[in-house]
Symmetry: C2
Subunit: 246 residues, 2 copies
């Protein structure tokens, strides 16, 4: 058996999230179905770096699988893409050692969150950005971002419905930058992320940017370890899993 690691992009708009759910169109199901077709109907299970929620996109999601097929690595993307729908695209495939695991071996993940900062909606970016009609104070957002960087217990930024016990994570980078005429992009790199952590951080930075929360308050919110103290979860469609590093 050969172990393959694949990098995949997907447009989350038309999926019920990444993970298999009976009767729903999901990213994992589509990829496993394409792999099964390549394996003459034999089921092939894939393991990804983690799930993404409904409406969340990926540019650099990673998964692995094992195969008895002997196909050169550069042929895998071509073969899979010819079987996949046009909202999933395998960007790369490589052979990895037997002990590699797409989830357990993650060193860093990068997410990006795109905000559309103008009054009129943009139909053509409605599935890839979250519109914010209020003026955002970037300096305040950057100041608050500084308080999030580092190793902390991030209970405050974790959705309540989770089984994860250890909520200590490290955020290596968190930048807030204007892009183009009317976008602001949040880039966040961390050792790993709790359930909905990036979207709750985004929601909290939005409240800082619109003067609902003081930037200094963010360190207190983290220290308090109370989800209720942080802000609402930002919508899914602005979020993209950008890169997974091993």
């Amino acid at each position: 058996m050969t172990k393959m690691k694949c990098t995949v992009a997907y447009d989350g708009s038309q999926f019920f999230g990444y993970q298999v759910q009976p009767g729903k169109r999901t990213v994992q199901s589509e990829i496993q179905e394409a792999l099964a077709r390549m394996h003459h109907g034999q089921p092939v299970k894939i393991a990804a770096s983690g799930r993404t929620d409904r409406g969340v996109h990926a540019y650099g999601q990673v998964f692995h699988f094992e195969t008895p097929l002997n196909i050169p690595k550069e042929r895998w993307p071509l073969a899979l893409n010819s079987l996949l729908p046009n909202d999933i695209y395998i960007r790369d495939a490589e052979e990895v050692p037997e002990q590699f695991h797409a989830r357990y071996d993650v060193k860093k993940k990068e997410y990006r969150y795109r905000l559309l900062t103008r009054m009129e909606p943009d139909l053509f970016r409605r599935m890839y950005t979250t519109q914010v009609k209020e003026t955002l104070d970037l300096d305040r957002m950057k100041q608050a971002a500084g308080a999030i960087i580092g190793t902390h217990d991030f209970t405050c930024f974790c959705a309540a419905n989770t089984d994860v016990k250890d909520k200590v994570r490290t955020v290596y980078q968190l930048s807030v930058q204007r892009e183009g005429a009317d976008e602001i992009v949040l880039r966040i790199v961390g050792s790993g992320f709790l359930y909905q952590m990036v979207r709750i951080i985004t929601g909290t930075l939005l409240d800082v940017g619109t003067h609902k929360i003081a930037p200094e308050r963010v360190a207190e919110i983290i220290a308090g370890r109370d989800r209720q103290a942080a802000s609402a979860t930002a919508p899914a469609q602005g979020l993209t899993l950008w890169k997974v590093s091993y």
Copy 2:
């Protein structure tokens, strides 16, 4: 009765074109359905500046309709947008004189065609750009564009299946410009356009840009008035009806 003129944007991806077709989801049907709801079920017919094909987008399509309702003009977009699906957006509404006609009074139309010039597909722009993997020579394309500007019989750039007799139109502007890291945008302004004219012009400019046709050949193609001499019709999804002027 009051005559209203509306400017509407739509994402053509999920429509079978602009015009009503029985049993199909079209832009005109959706707008007329929203208007009928505002008029207590009474049908309201709209007249647009022209049709757009399946998959073609609009940023500034214009239509008119007549109404017995007495609603201030700034309330119309709010009322209609609350009833319309999220891939149609009424940008503006204004009252116009009784004799105004959205189709017959058009002075100029502007279309834009977006090309994605990179090797890897971009899932997030797949519905709004046409990917070109070959290198495009912009200087050649600009030279050819110069031959198209002006008043000509554009039979060569008109799809065969049309009833229109007079094929003389005026192209006022036709520019080819890089935009961002990996896009080229064609902007074309004309007195009016024949069926699929912008997409056939785009296809022809692409053949010039990839050295399949000499730029000097384009004037001959126009003079020859033969659709077969021009290039293939470029795909719908790169095209947007940008602006209609009266």
